[in-house]
């Protein structure tokens, strides 16, 4: 019901993990964008986006993931996307983004 969104950042085992919980939509996405772009621009590590607690995302959020990936690539880093719910994985497949990101449930 609430469209709250929480973004947590954590470093361990040579990756920076961004855990997203809640709903990413046009209203909540601004905070995610700032945080993710800032990390993608500056990180010395690969990025893992943990979506275990992500309940909803649409093109606004997917566009931000793509934007972060472009930034990470310029920085020679990879982005792993993990623990997507089925309904969200479906959106990655529809848009072809499952081939663009490294889909991974086990790192």
């Amino acid at each position: 019901m609430s469209s709250e969104l929480k973004v947590r950042e954590e470093q361990s085992k040579g990756v920076v993990t961004i855990s997203i919980s809640g709903e990413v939509d046009i209203y909540t996405s601004q905070g995610l964008k700032e945080k993710l772009y800032q990390i993608a621009d500056t990180t010395q590590l690969d990025i893992k986006i943990d979506c275990k607690e992500l309940n909803y995302i649409d093109s606004t959020g997917l566009g931000i993931f793509v934007g972060a990936l472009k930034r990470a690539k310029q920085n020679d880093k990879k982005i792993y996307i993990s623990n997507l719910k089925e309904s969200i994985k479906k959106l990655f497949i529809i848009t072809g983004l499952d081939k663009v990101f490294i889909m991974s449930d086990d790192i």
Partner: protein, 130 residues
């Protein structure tokens, strides 16, 4: 499931903070029609894509837009409209954006540029396994 037509309409401010309300109401409508949870999620995403686009495009003259849910038997049709008719096609016809791909994949039928009494419409029906 009866075959009479039921209409539900939601008028919302053209503001990002109300897009989640469109999703919430849509989930209630879709649940009432009898869609399963997975399809309800799909409908929420498709509606959200259109709302996000309308809110991003915005309007100089209108403050609100409407989402009309038309339930006819096993079919749910969703029409979007705005008093500001100058909005025209809210998605470009040859647009290859993420939003358009998602809507096309999730809905049975999409009318991107309507000549009718609405800006945009899409529909989806209960499938056999629902």
């Amino acid at each position: 499931m009866k075959d009479k037509t039921d209409k539900i309409e939601l008028l919302l401010p053209l503001k990002a903070e109300y897009v989640s309300l469109a999703r919430l109401t849509a989930s209630g409508v879709a649940n009432r029609v009898g869609f399963d949870i997975e399809t309800i999620e799909d409908i929420k995403v498709a509606i959200s894509e259109v709302c996000s686009k309308l809110v991003s495009v915005g309007s100089n003259s209108a403050e609100n837009y409407s989402i009309k849910f038309i339930i006819q038997g096993i079919n749910l049709r969703i029409e979007f409209n705005c008093e500001d008719q100058s909005l025209g096609c809210i998605f470009k016809e040859d647009e290859e954006g993420l939003g358009v791909s998602i809507i096309n994949a999730l809905m049975d039928d999409v009318e991107f540029c309507s000549s009718g009494s609405y800006l945009f419409s899409m529909s989806i029906a209960l499938k056999g396994d629902n």
